[in-house]
Symmetry: C2
Subunit: 103 residues, 2 copies
Amino acid sequence: MKKEITCPLHYTMTLIGTKWKPLILFHLIEGPLRSGVLQKQIPEISNKMFTQSVRELEKDGLINRKIYPVVPPKVEYELTKKGLSLKSILKSLDLWGSEHFKL
Amino acid sequence: MKKEITCPLHYTMTLIGTKWKPLILFHLIEGPLRSGVLQKQIPEISNKMFTQSVRELEKDGLINRKIYPVVPPKVEYELTKKGLSLKSILKSLDLWGSEHFKL
DNA sequence: GCAATAACTTACTTTAAAGTAATATACACT
DNA sequence: AGTGTATATTACTTTAAAGTAAGTTATTGC
């Protein structure tokens, strides 16, 4: 049974409410990164989830994929305008974590 | 294989990065609500996920559970100080959704 | 004694998210 | 011909999230 979305926040969570997507967006805040570099900045992510997540973020218009026709391949990801509009939220979420995560 | 948390944002997402938790917290921003009232404000949530989510939010110190010893039972949920500190983030996430969710 | 009430709880099933590991591509270099 | 490189895909398995539906408690009022 598919449920309706009754609250804008609910919609936001369907786009970025996953384990990895906010982390990927967060690491792109300072500018575009090559695929491999981005993935190394999130060492815990599996290869599969990385590709799957960037695919979905691209489909949802939050990041752009720039392909350079060179060998070996070079691909860069960067935030779109829509993705960039999450910048302050992502920073707040990170700051909140650093303030409340006691080891 | 359990993975380490290398970024505060990752920790934040482990606490509230689910479909329902941010929604529950969001509806408590304006003040405490009775269990039944809160649940009715999120009509899409199943009974089980409601109980499970508030239990975890309580365990993680984001909400308080106030039990009134009356019959039939009365229980209220309210944000803790820690939960309240998410207020502006939750409002931003909701606002972002309303600005980007085109029907 | 039975229904109504509010808030859970439990057992079970389904669906979605995430992990693992192997394989593909395409060319440059040795 | 075989190796290295960067990016990505596929098949498969495991784990976690979510859904469904029925049952529990404790009391009031008929």
